[in-house]
């Protein structure tokens, strides 16, 4: 879900830095827009992912499952807001319209920032992003740390699968008790998670050690600078895409701070 999708598309053909700065534009917009406009941004992102990024419905569905769960927790946080006109109460806690609006606004922002980041990951070759960061002046050792980290996701994901299976066969089930005897008991679920995480940690460290050896053995860090098979290049289409969003950000900033169009208590969060 958090990996480059390698699908040829319009968004994938843009250079990495244009997409990165587009991400920054989205972040600015979601913090000045009211919830209604944020939902509109989210709709634009969805359409962009499906039509311009061609990332596929399945990937979008998986992402939404995670993001909507997260948004739900934000909305539940409205119970603790306290002020405003009540909608319902839960014991001493009162859910108010204001709580709903403020938490809803926050949820919409998070939804947009996270979904746009996911879209960026799906349509951007991490290599191009790294070379882009180096072009911006980020030291290559630092930029590649991100790259190697991304490289680790599929390895770690496989390892976690093996460990989960192996431990299930010994009677440990994350969240499911031990040996079927005390199924569901919180204590044993916690123990199972702890054991699982310890095994993942140890295997990850072992694998990370090999990766570190391999990096050293391949001359990584030997010199202050390095060359690139595919150095960073801006693309015209990427710049046009970025330009459109920059104009939108400038207009929105003017609308918000010059014309004071976007005001309301949802900024109280």
């Amino acid at each position: 879900m958090f990996q480059y999708a390698r699908i040829p598309s319009l968004l994938a053909s843009f250079d990495a830095l244009s997409k990165f700065f587009w991400l920054v534009c989205i972040a600015v917009l979601v913090f000045i827009y009211p919830p209604q406009l944020n939902l509109l941004v989210f709709a634009v992102l969805l359409v962009s992912a499906l039509l311009l990024g061609r990332v596929g419905l399945r990937r979008v569905r998986q992402a939404l499952a995670v993001l909507l769960a997260l948004a739900f927790f934000f909305l539940v946080g409205g119970l603790f807001y306290g002020k405003g006109e009540p909608i319902f109460s839960l014991g001493p806690l009162v859910y108010t319209w204001e709580g709903l609006t403020v938490r809803g606004a926050a949820a919409a922002r998070i939804l947009n920032v996270m979904f746009s980041s996911m879209l960026f990951v799906w349509v951007t070759n991490p290599r191009d992003f790294v070379t882009g960061l180096v072009w911006l002046g980020v030291p290559y050792r630092m930029a590649f740390t991100i790259f190697v980290g991304l490289n680790y996701i599929p390895i770690l994901s496989n390892e976690m699968g093996y460990i989960r299976d192996a431990q299930r066969l010994r009677g440990l089930q994350q969240g499911g008790g031990r040996g079927g005897a005390v199924r569901g008991a919180l204590g044993s679920a916690f123990r199972a998670y702890r054991t699982f995480l310890l095994a993942v940690l140890l295997r990850s460290l072992r694998k990370a050690e090999i990766t570190a050896f391999a990096l050293d053995s391949k001359g990584f860090g030997a010199f202050q600078e390095r060359t690139y098979l595919n150095p960073f290049r801006w693309t015209r289409s990427g710049l046009i895409w970025l330009g459109v969003w920059v104009v939108l950000v400038v207009l929105s900033l003017y609308a918000s701070f010059g014309l004071h169009l976007f005001t309301g208590h949802y900024f109280a969060y």
Partner: protein
Amino acid sequence: MAPSDPLVLVNGFSFTHEGCDQPALRDIHLEIGSGELVLMCGPTGCGKTSLALCFNGLVPYAIPGKLSGSIQVCGVDPTQIPTPHMATRVGLVFQDPESQLCTLFLEDEIAFGPENLKVPRPELMPRVDRLLAQIGLQAARGGSVFELSGGQKQKVNIASVLAMQPCLLVFDMPTANLDPVGSVEVFAMIRRLVTEQEVTCIVIENRLDDLVPLADRVVVMGAGGSIAYDGPPREVFAHGQAMVEQIGVEIPQVVELSLALKEHAGLGANGTPDSTPIPLTVDDAVRQIKTAFDAGRLRLAGPRPAAEPAAVQDPAVPPDPAALPGPVVVLEDVHFSYRKGTEVLKGISFSMEKGELLTIVGNNGSGKTTLAKQLVGLLRPTSGRVRVCGLDVSRTNLADLARRAAYVFQYPEHQFVAQGKAVYDEIAFNLRAAGRDEREIEARVADLVHRFQLDGKETASPYVLSGGEMRTLSVACMLSTDPELLILDEPTYGQDRARITALLQRLGELRRAGTSVIMISHDMRLVAEYADRVALLNDGQLLFHGPPAELFVQPDLLRKAALKEPPVCSVVQALRDCGVPLPAGILTVQDFVQACRPGEAVL
């Protein structure tokens, strides 16, 4: 460095890991010239990898410790130079093909090293093109390295190191994860590098059959971290018997055959009573044995005596099948697809009797592990039926099934659950979960600790054990509750011959007690020696199910599944083709020796 100087010069070199009392390397003397292919072997934990890590300075750059003596590689002292600066001189290829990948895409991976070494951009693409052609992966150049097979990944690793144009290449067990044909391809590639590009290569390896014929020299390390033998292969393997008995390393099967015939029939390696030269290839062995038959120094022993109650002599021989009730595993037209839709198992049907040892073989990605996971309920068939120990896997919960069918994973540490407490707790875990009382647990653990030679390690953390001990512990853990079926995934991975033999002997004892065993393995010698039946998978289909003797006479079938028969089977087949009427069913050196007797010329 003058052209005549040795490329590697190690003199009285010792190394002790930080915090350890015993040295990992002890008084090493080694001289390797330019353009040599050196095979380095030795038992688990003998210091082979530590020595390899010294060549490019990872010891002491990344692995600190106490050093003494001197080491020179490509004219410099690697202990004085940071590893990244040694990269143009020494390339290192590790055992795990996946963890050493530094990028996501094929051409980036190959270019990664030269980029770090500031090779100008116009030179990068030609290097990448040349190396992609060399490893035969031009078609996949833009693809992800994680979509390649294990063998292809390892070839990419080799290419990525070669791209830095080092003068010395060191390979640490490069074929441990590969199927037999994948291994042969990697070894052939290494030989070509030495012959065509005059790159010096050191290969650390324990499976020697395919590599020894290609090596110029063999260095054998003993358990104490010192070099026990060093010389041309024929000279070194003349000490083959001592190597097996005293050091515990595997020797090539043709050497083993030659030495056994010499002992059994007084036959010298060249078919005469003298003792030189030792054969290194199947062709050598065939020529020599054929000469001995032609000269009357070796004869066929005639029909073999009726089978004795062999289980008494050989722990690997199963109990009498006639005395056993019904099959322990039954698969009926089993199909399985992962969510992505690709069918991984395509109509698998077979059964397995109680007390049998079945090996599942096949190339990387053929569906072996997926099949084994069906047997313990980790995966359920998409269609078809799997019955294990009388239970329908689709209708039985995992815990109930796990009590009857135990699965030992390839990497033992995946399965440790006692949170690093102690070996005792690790073995006791399943017993405690099953509600046994503490006195019974104590007795059971003590018995398993003793049987699996883990005495004295009861209080040690499982994670500080050696690789071989971890493997042994994982088997002991899974046997604690007396399962009826034991499944082992690549049990010989990273193990030396002595440990493999010890493990197989333990399994033999279990089988005599009625436990059935399934092994997933790439080790065809092990399959020939111990298996009652073999299930051969290829692309999710069952190509063969039957005794190994029937499989190993079908070279086309084996080739289709990227497998190779053990050398002794090749020798038998070649001798039959030459007119020597050897009986059917010869799978091991012992079988061969029993089929022959000394001829009159010797007598």
